[in-house]
């Protein structure tokens, strides 16, 4: 078992390595001289520019630059200078990204939480009431949602639930930009929670809807398979109560495959966050990422990509372990 974990960690490392090389190579060949922007900014001193050029080894060939960057990057405990400075201004990349990480994390976990809490029970219920009106209606809705690009959902929600709703009722239900209102610090505790939620709902729901569609569909199929299984028939033949049959015998088997799905979805949720943050002007890593790519501020891009990659690797590993723990048929060899 330990051997398995070690092996997976090694694979994870290789993945991250490959990710960094691919991204770095792509970025190197894009855009012009990264320092141009800095040189054009009157507030950056010549000395800072010089320091940065040295730090990144900008006069050296690409491979060397990569190694320099990688060497600095892995020593992340050298906060805040380990990841260098941004090419947009003198901020330290590590500081910038970590600050924004909070915003993305909030969005991501809310969306995942919503998706799991709604999507999975939905799938279960659809299976139990197969072919009922509820089942058919919600399945269709899921299907449509799944076929809708996330930015359409985001903009649509913005227009309908924020703009139009406010127009019709005169009350501002949801905000369409930012994490908090500017007057946040002046608000009382209760009002702060309300304000946070009002900002959080639309972007989180945009992301969650697509995951809900996926989870419920998968869970429904899994549950149906279990409901028609032989061992469920045995359970009924033993005279067990309906509750016991479903909760004890069916659910455990039905939930196992969905765990894998949820962990694989983390990558998708992060991708969704990247887009959603742009739409809702959310102060997260995703938005930072897009802005940085547009002007080839590669230290930031590298940092964000590595963080995302790291999160995905960890989640995958956790999912595998959880699967092995839940399903006794799985053996690690």
């Amino acid at each position: 078992m330990l051997q398995y974990v070690v092996r997976r960690l090694v694979y994870g490392l290789i993945t991250l390595l490959a990710l960094s090389i691919i991204t770095f190579t792509l970025l190197q060949n894009t855009g012009g001289d990264p320092l141009d922007r800095l040189k054009a900014n009157p507030r950056i001193t010549q000395q800072t520019i010089q320091e940065m050029a040295e730090f990144y080894g900008l006069d050296q060939p690409a491979t060397k630059q990569y190694l320099t960057w990688a060497g600095n990057f892995v020593q992340f405990w050298n906060y805040p200078t380990a990841w260098g400075r941004s090419f947009q201004g003198p901020q330290q990349v590590q500081e910038l990204v970590i600050n924004r990480l909070g915003g993305t994390a909030r969005l991501m976990f809310t969306a995942l939480g919503l998706a799991v809490m709604i999507g999975i029970p939905l799938g279960i219920y659809q299976a139990i009431r197969q072919y009922s009106f509820f089942d058919q209606a919600t399945t269709t809705f899921s299907f449509v949602t799944f076929s809708t690009p996330i930015f359409v959902l985001g903009i649509g929600l913005q227009i309908i639930l924020a703009l139009k709703l406010e127009q019709w009722t005169g009350v501002k239900f949801f905000y369409t930009s930012g994490m908090n209102s500017t007057s946040f610090s002046d608000l009382s505790f209760g009002a702060r929670i309300g304000d946070t939620l009002q900002h959080l709902v639309l972007p989180a729901v945009s992301i969650a809807l697509i995951s809900i569609a996926g989870y419920s569909r998968y869970q429904r199929a899994s549950m149906l398979e279990v409901l028609h299984s032989d061992y469920l028939r045995t359970a009924k033949a033993k005279g067990l109560s309906r509750r016991s049959v479903i909760v004890k015998h069916a659910l455990r088997n039905a939930l196992i495959p969905v765990i894998t799905l949820v962990s694989l979805d983390v990558a998708g949720v992060l991708g969704g966050a990247v887009i959603t943050e742009s739409i809702f002007a959310w102060p997260g890593m995703g938005r930072l990422y897009i802005q940085a790519i547009a002007i080839n501020d590669w230290p930031i891009v590298m940092a964000v990509v590595m963080l995302i990659g790291f999160m995905v690797v960890v989640m995958n590993l956790l999912a595998d372990l959880a699967y092995g723990w839940l399903d006794p048929r799985v053996r690690y060899d």
Binding site: Y11, I14, T15, A18, L19, I22, T23, L26, L27, N29, T30, G31, Y131, Q136, F143, V144, F146, S147, T148, P149, I150, F151, V152, I155, G156, Q158, I159, L163, T176, A221, L224, E225, H228, A267, G268, L270, G271, G272, V274, I275, S278, I279, Y289, I290, I293, A294, N296, V301, V304, V305, I308, G309, V312, V313, N316
Partner: protein, 321 residues
């Protein structure tokens, strides 16, 4: 073991044969009927819709449409920007005076071209990798699958964005093709896995042994004998990949890394429209029509894929019961 006779009453077939009143609800039977019937119909409808979209897009030049990039003006020479839908401009005009309907149709060209090319690439490359890995097994399999797993473990959108940014510079002007290659490179992994699984099970079947005994070489066995049997999951998956590709391309265009203006693309139009619509000018038609086009297209592709799966994949018994 003792011989004990058993007895019973004779059944009354005749009486019951006459009875019409079966207590099995006709409603029940109807429900089962209706669901499968409707789904079949939906798949066919989806195919028809897709066909129409394809025709519109392929023959856009022949249709009585405005140019998608021309800034139109009225009799007085004023640019007719931000007009809501009306008789002359069914989908309205955007902030540059371009006809939205024309842009939607031509934008469809890009989206569908990219999507179909991606689908073909994924099908080809994924099948190649999967079949070789599944057929030969051993270290070939391990090597290929590690590679596939690596590609699959890369976070999709972030990498796609970086790659798209690079492609835009490197291949300016040939965006559709380069996007297809990009998406094709990122998406073949799942299909490769599926094909490999199929090959792993199919290669054990007797017809393979028979072919080998008849002297067939490996390549022949793979392509002439095993592959035709593995075709249905390939078709189903490729169809679904096309749907994913449309959404991805739209997302990339939305973020500004896909097709650049003035060339139209659905995602790009939605981005533009979103900014304007939410920003207060209320030009809802700028968002609605490209979004609608996206949804309808992807929905049809997904329905079709679903229908194909039902029709082609006999091992899926879940929804049948």
């Amino acid at each position: 073991m003792t011989d004990r006779p058993s007895g019973n009453e004779p059944p009354v077939y005749s009486a019951l044969d006459e009875a019409e009143g079966l207590s099995v609800e006709p409603v029940t039977q109807w429900k089962l009927f209706k669901t499968r019937f409707v789904r079949h119909r939906l798949a066919m409808l989806a195919a028809v819709v897709l066909g129409i979209i394809l025709l519109l897009v392929l023959f856009a030049d022949l249709l009585p449409l405005q140019s998608p990039t021309e800034q139109l003006s009225d009799e007085n020479g004023r640019i007719v920007n931000l007009l809501s839908p009306r008789g002359e401009y069914w989908f309205g005009t955007d902030e540059l005076g371009q006809d939205v309907m024309a842009r939607v149709v031509y934008g469809g060209r890009t989206s569908l071209t990219v999507a179909v090319l991606t689908g073909l690439m994924v099908a080809t490359f994924g099948t190649l990798v999967g079949s070789i890995a599944g057929y030969y097994g051993g270290w070939v399999d391990t090597l290929l699958m590690r590679f596939t797993d690596l590609i699959l473990s890369l976070p999709l959108l972030p990498v796609a964005i970086v790659a798209a940014a690079w492609l835009r510079e490197a291949f300016e002007g040939r965006e559709a093709l380069s996007l297809s290659i990009l998406l094709g490179t990122l998406l073949w992994g799942t299909l490769a896995r599926i094909v490999r699984a199929e090959f792993l099970s199919l290669r054990e079947k007797e017809f393979v042994e028979a072919a080998r005994a008849a002297g067939a070489r490996d390549r022949r066995i793979i392509f002439r004998h095993i592959l035709p049997n593995a075709l249905s999951p390939i078709i189903v998956n490729a169809t679904l990949v096309i749907g994913i590709a449309i959404i991805l391309e739209a997302a990339l265009s939305f973020l500004g890394f896909g097709v650049r203006p003035p060339e139209p693309a659905w995602g790009q139009m939605a981005a533009n429209g979103g900014r304007l619509a939410v920003g207060g000018s209320g030009a809802w038609w700028l968002v609605l029509f490209p979004s609608f086009a996206l949804i309808i297209t992807v929905l049809s592709v997904n329905f079709l894929g679903d229908g194909l799966r039902d029709a082609l994949d006999p091992t899926q018994t879940i929804e049948r019961k």
